[in-house]
């Protein structure tokens, strides 16, 4: 630091003394660097130089740095300034002094050597206390100013020889006394003193501030009193802010409303029915294209777009819309607060009613969007119908839709009147907000005992009151709730008798939840399915056989098909679900009609799964073949073979063989109950036979559907050949005519001979293009400079150049340094030599004078 300062000082000095205009104008100092060419626009720095000035600058600099170092060379000792805070610029000089003093005190107070017991003892000289002597000395010293006493007075010598008094002697007598009094003060006292001091200062500052504040306030008030008199116009806004806030002018309100209206988002144009339909169709097209892409598999996995499901927004947006609507309503009413948000939490009847009303309000809008889809569906089905009919008819259809699907749109599925009626009924019993359940049991206790419709309502309200947009933890709660709901449905399905209607009614809620939380839905479904698959696998491993999965698993599989796209090439839920079906169809042996029913349900599900993707599922074909085999009475000479879980000949090999020829009487085709997969009770032989016929009918229909589905795949004939063989062995004459008809249709659908096919050839590969050898063109931007090709090269070049320059500069500096030093050394030597010469001369001179004197004396003597 000191060095730098010195340098600066030197430079300043140089500048001050020599770079004044005087020097600049001195033609002897100035050297003009000659230029070869004049270039326009180039600024030159070094056209004029002051070599003398710069040289002297350099020499001075060296003198201050290099020379000092040279002189210090080989010298080990140096002075270090350890004075407290000497170089701390931030410290005030008073503080510095204070600190130094306290440090000094501390040092003297500290016991240097604990073993030196005599330290505290009074030092004496000639039996007299030194302190006493000092006092005396002081008196002497103070008197010594008069210089009357002799230099070697007794007192003085005594004090001198007393030793160690030097330090003390320097101090003035006043200070001594001070010190004497301060000695009593300990360090703590000192600190206390400091603290008191600072506190005092603080207090003072505070009081000052307060005073200033009071003064300003006073001034303000005075100003206000005057201001009123001055003028109203200019200061209106200010005064309003402070004084007239609660009052509202019509004008102000209008201004504000205008302001808010400006900010409001422009709403979209109200669309006509055709436009809506077109949009819906387009949206479906996009979704369908996306589905097809996923079905084809991971061919283009890279640019996987984030799929947007608009239908999911229905429920999602509904709530956000709710909020906005409320604010809008509030404005129209002329209210200013946004209390509505809290109202949701409140439980009082009025508030809830208000909410409900508001919901109604936006329901209309929402219903429209919700019904779009239904309408689209219907449009796709019967587009021509729709076009022929006009607006009013469409509206009717809309209503019809609503009636047909009372649970069409998830949150608000009912028509206006129905809803109102229901609300009134519900008001009597149901609360309007529900806590999100924390476990399946909680959910069960919440829902059980109500009618299915009411359960749906409860769920609906639970979802509403725990919508993720309303609270932080709600998202997690609802995610969990999906799992609970699924489990609850499983319980409903496995109860006896199964409450499938309830499950059916709760489906829209489940769908809505799954659309909200796809990941959670995926996880929950996966766990349920894998649990069942794991159970089956374990029992198969232990016992070699397993029972068919229960109705709950079947329902789960069905729900999977409803919630997730089954046509995807690979899907985290549907692929395992399909494996579940496959596992059940291959590992579970059939022991009763109930098992056959269960198997056929699984086949139906499999058909649903592959309906769009037309994927092959060998297990289902095997199973259908096995079921047909169960109906073949004569098991010899079959021409086909069945695989696990069926046996060619076995104990349960004739489950579907009719026990009496008069069985077909009174049989009619009707849908089988799903509950038959759990506890099938058939009371008479006739009933049993009818059930068998129904199963066979289902089986034949499934075969037909699969045949239609697979008719384009290469090995169609070979896949269905065993089924064809089995069909021929069925005892047709015992079957009713509808079944015979069905049988005939199936046989027609299956070909008698294999189709001709082209032999397999590898896919044609794209020819690999030749290597192109286009010349590499390098841009040349500036010719004069050294050029590298790339930026990096150029940068490297630049650095190299810089390094070279620096290196040369450093060399030059070193050379100059050595030259300077040599000069110094030389001058040193010269100086010493001349000194010596001078001294020798002096000596010789004195000697010669002596000699002269001596000779002259001798001459004198001789004379």
């Amino acid at each position: 630091m000191g060095k730098q300062q010195k340098k600066k000082n030197v430079a300043d000095k140089v500048r001050k003394t020599k770079t004044s205009t005087e020097i600049k104008n001195n033609p002897f100092e100035v050297k003009i660097n000659k230029k070869k060419f004049d270039i326009l626009g180039r600024k030159t720095k070094h056209d004029v130089g002051l070599p003398g000035v710069s040289r002297s600058k350099a020499i001075n600099k060296r003198k201050n740095t290099l020379l000092k170092e040279y002189k210090q060379k080989g010298k080990a000792n140096k002075f270090i300034d350890r004075r407290f805070g000497e170089y701390d610029t931030k410290m005030a000089p008073e503080d510095k002094i204070l600190q130094r003093f306290s440090l000094e005190r501390q040092r003297t107070l500290e016991k240097k050597d604990i073993y030196n017991l005599n330290e505290d003892e009074e030092l004496t000289h000639y039996g007299q206390s030194l302190a006493e002597m000092e006092k005396l000395n002081d008196i002497v010293d103070s008197d010594s100013d008069s210089e009357e006493k002799g230099l070697l007075s007794a007192e003085l010598t005594a004090s001198h020889f007393g030793g160690g008094g030097g330090l003390l002697r320097k101090k003035s007598p006043g200070e001594k006394e001070d010190e004497g009094s301060q000695k009593a003060k300990s360090r703590q006292e000192l600190i206390e003193e400091l603290i008191i001091k600072s506190k005092q200062e603080k207090r003072e500052r505070q009081t000052q501030k307060e005073e200033a504040h009071v003064l300003t306030e006073k001034l303000d008030q005075e100003w206000k009193s005057i201001q009123g008199l001055l003028s109203h116009k200019g200061s209106k806004a200010q005064s309003q802010d402070q004084t007239e806030k609660p009052k509202l002018d019509d004008y102000d309100m209008m201004v504000r409303e205008l302001g808010f209206e400006m900010k409001a988002q422009p709403s979209e144009k109200l669309k006509s029915e055709e436009e809506l339909a077109r949009e819906g169709r387009e949206r479906l097209h996009i979704l369908e294209a996306d589905r097809l892409r996923r079905m084809k598999g991971d061919l283009e996995e890279g640019p996987k777009k984030k799929t947007v499901h608009f239908s999911a927004d229905d429920l999602n947006d509904g709530f956000i819309l709710d909020k906005e609507d409320k604010k809008m309503l509030a404005y129209q009413d002329g209210k200013w607060s946004v209390e509505e948000e809290e109202e949701k939490e409140g439980e009082s009847e009025e508030e809830v009613e208000e909410c409900e009303e508001e919901d109604d309000g936006d329901d209309d809008g929402d219903d429209d969007s919700g019904n779009d889809e239904d309408e689209d569906d219907s449009k796709e089905d019967a587009h021509s119908d729709l076009e022929s009919e006009q607006g009013s008819a469409e509206e009717e259809e809309l209503d019809k839709d609503e009636e047909e699907f009372p649970t069409a749109s998830a949150p608000r599925p009912l028509s206006e009147e129905e809803r109102k009626a229901q609300q009134e009924i519900a008001k009597a019993e149901l609360p309007y907000t529900f806590k999100a359940p924390e476990s399946t049991e909680e959910l069960k206790s919440m829902l059980q005992g109500h009618f299915p419709e009411k359960q749906r309502l409860i769920l609906d309200r639970t979802l509403k009151s725990n919508h993720p947009s309303l609270g932080v933890g709600n998202k997690l709660k609802l995610q969990k709730m999906f799992g609970f709901l699924l489990e609850y449905m499983g319980e409903l399905a496995s109860s006896k008798p199964p409450e499938l209607n309830t499950v059916n009614i709760l489906i829209p809620q489940l769908y809505g939840l799954s659309q909200l939380f796809p990941a959670a839905a995926c996880k929950a479904m996966q766990t349920l399915l894998t649990d069942s698959a794991h159970d089956i696998e374990e029992t198969v491993e232990v016992t070699g056989r397993a029972a068919f999965p229960g109705l709950d698993v079947l329902i789960y599989l069905k729900i999977t098909a409803l919630l997730f796209p089954t046509s995807d090439f690979r899907h985290p839920v549907t692929t395992p679900a399909f494996l579940c079906i496959s596992q059940a169809l291959t590992k579970c042996p059939l022991t009763c009609l109930q098992d056959v029913t269960c198997g056929l349900v699984l086949c139906c599900l499999a058909l649903e799964y592959v309906a769009l993707s037309q994927r092959l599922c060998p297990e289902v074909i095997n199973f259908l073949l096995g079921v047909l085999h169960l109906a073949v009475p004569d098991k010899t000479n079959l021409g086909y073979s069945v695989v696990s879980p069926f046996k060619q000949v076995g104990r349960f090999g004739e489950l579907l063989v009719l026990s009496s020829p008069e069985a077909p009487e009174g049989w009619s085709r009707k849908a089988l109950p799903l509950s038959a997969t759990q506890g099938l009770q058939l009371h008479s032989h006739l009933e049993t036979n009818h059930y068998r016929l129904s199963l066979l009918d289902t089986c034949l229909d499934l075969v037909k559907k699969f045949a239609v589905l697979y008719k384009d795949i290469p090995s169609f004939f070979h896949i269905f050949q065993p089924i064809r063989a089995a069909l021929k062995h069925l005892p047709l004459k015992n079957y009713p005519s509808t079944l015979q008809e069905c049988h005939r249709e199936v046989l027609e659908a299956l070909p008698e001979t294999p189709a001709e096919q082209l032999p397999l050839v590898f896919e044609k590969k794209k020819p690999i293009p030749l290597k192109l050898l286009t010349p590499k063109i390098v841009e040349v931007l500036d010719y004069g400079k050294k050029r590298g090709n790339t930026k990096e090269q150029r940068e490297q070049e630049r650095l190299k150049h810089k390094y070279k320059k620096e290196f040369k500069g450093a060399l030059r500096e070193i050379r100059k340094d050595t030259r300077f030093l040599a000069q110094e050394k030389l001058s040193d030597v010269m100086r010493r030599d001349s000194e010596r010469k001078r001294k020798v001369k002096e000596l010789l001179g004195s000697l010669s004078t002596q000699e002269g004197e001596w000779k002259s004396l001798k001459k004198m003597k001789r004379k």
């Binding site: 598999g297 799929t307 499901h309 239908s311 999911a312 569906d377 699907f405 649970t407 069409a408 499938l500 499950v503 059916n504 829209p508 799954s514 796809p518 996966q526 794991h534 696998e537 729900i559 409803l562 919630l563 997730f564 796209p565 995807d568 090439f569 690979r570 899907h571 985290p572 692929t575 399909f578 494996l579 579940c580 496959s582 596992q583 291959t586 139906c604 599900l605 058909l607 649903e608 592959v610 993707s613 994927r615 092959l616 060998p618 073979s641 695989v643 696990s644 849908a671 089988l672 109950p673 799903l674 795949i713 290469p714 090995s715 294999p754 096919q757 082209l758 032999p759 397999l760 590898f762």
Partner: protein, 527 residues
Amino acid sequence: MAPTKSSNVRIETSKESTKSYKKVINDKVESVLQSRKNANEIFDLLEYLQSNKEKEAMCAVHACGKLFSDLLERGDLFVGKLPEEDEVLEGERTADDKYRIFLRHRYINCIEQLLENMGHNAYPVKEASLCMLMKFASTEGKFPLQKLDWCEHYSFPRELIQAVVERMLSEIEDMAMIISRFQEFLEMDDVRYYVMCSIRDHVANVMEKNKGVVMPIFQNNVFTLLSNINMPSQDSELTNFMVQQGAKHNDWKAAKFKEHKRVFERTWLMFLKYKLPGSMYKKVLVILHETILPHMSEPTLMIDFLTAAYDIGGAISLLALNGLFILMHQHNLEYPDFYKKLYNLLEPSIFHVKYRARFFHLANLFLSSTHLPVYLVAAFAKRLSRLALTAPPTALVMLLPFICNLIRRHPSCRVLIHRPSAEAPCNDPYNMEEEDPAQCNALESSLWEIKTLQNHYHPDVAKAAQAINQPLSQTETDISKLLELSTFELMEKDLKEVPSTVPLEFDKATQLLNGSRDVLGIHFCLE
């Protein structure tokens, strides 16, 4: 000796014993051991032995065990050829001799009763009886009851062991539990040796008597006992003996490793000579290559059994493959039409049996040779792919790389998946019914079935099938990990990878049934 007297005693004791049979039994044992006078109380003990009550029987078994082993050690039993009990009374013998003969007869009674008890209702009694018999056997080994002619006989209670074995190989009762208990004693080398001898003799006797008719329970017992035998693998391992033979130990047959092997082999062959029930074939074949073949001195003798098993068909044939392979591979066996038979083993059920992994492991081995004729490999590939149309996904995941590997090993089979010469579509020339792989025209066909499987519902299968669209890569796929894949493992693959976004169905679900693509609702209703 004095039957009337003993019956009196019995009546008395039966009255007393209601309270503490334990004490009574122990007292009697003590008294018999203390003085010869009380010898008749042995009858009471034997009476207890017949008890139906588990605890009494147990107690009696232990008591008898203690009593007779003590007597044996004391040398109180008659040694040598035992005269009939009636003769003793008349003959000129000392009282001491008579006493000994009496005890020896009681000892035999006791053994008979213990053997009887091995069929007791309660397992502990069975177990205790068995242990006690083996204890007798070991004591008898130390204190032989035969007079030894020095050159020929070795002291070993052969008859006792034989009796135990015969009792274990019951014809009417499943003795699996007691046999597994008996395994402990089979660790002893001499016991094992003589047990094997006894089994051999007994099986031969029984089967001869029944004229080779299948006897499931008996054969099952024999199998359980035989499969429990752990053969030593080296000569030096023969160290654990129940009876030590002293000086001539080294000449003893039971101490020779070679003899062990020979007897083991003979016993198995004797067992397998007769017709077995179907499940027994499976059981034998499963352990054949690991526990039987290595310990036989002449494994090729098994060929008859294996050929017979191979010709049975189905799963048994599959299992016989393993043994056959070892014989062919290690013992230079020539087996005619092996590949033809292997080819005919390929049936739809092959993917559903329990031994699928083992079969495909072996099939992979058999077909790994590059010197097989092309038509054969083509036939295998074609047949397997035809069968793949009915296979479950777990099998397909393994099967498709398997077929691809076949084509890789035999590049001339490439025509199966790449036939650029033919232009016109044709019928599949392959004949599935033909049994001879040479005649089935597989080489003229194409693997359309794999093309079909590209449309399989499981993504892994579909991907594996898509491999034939391009020229196959050079390196073979390792199928060893896929052999034993289960459905759940296949499922777990999907569960592990959690994708960032889960695609959802966009058709709104409103009802369980009656959706747009619903099939379930057509045939079933919500009831």
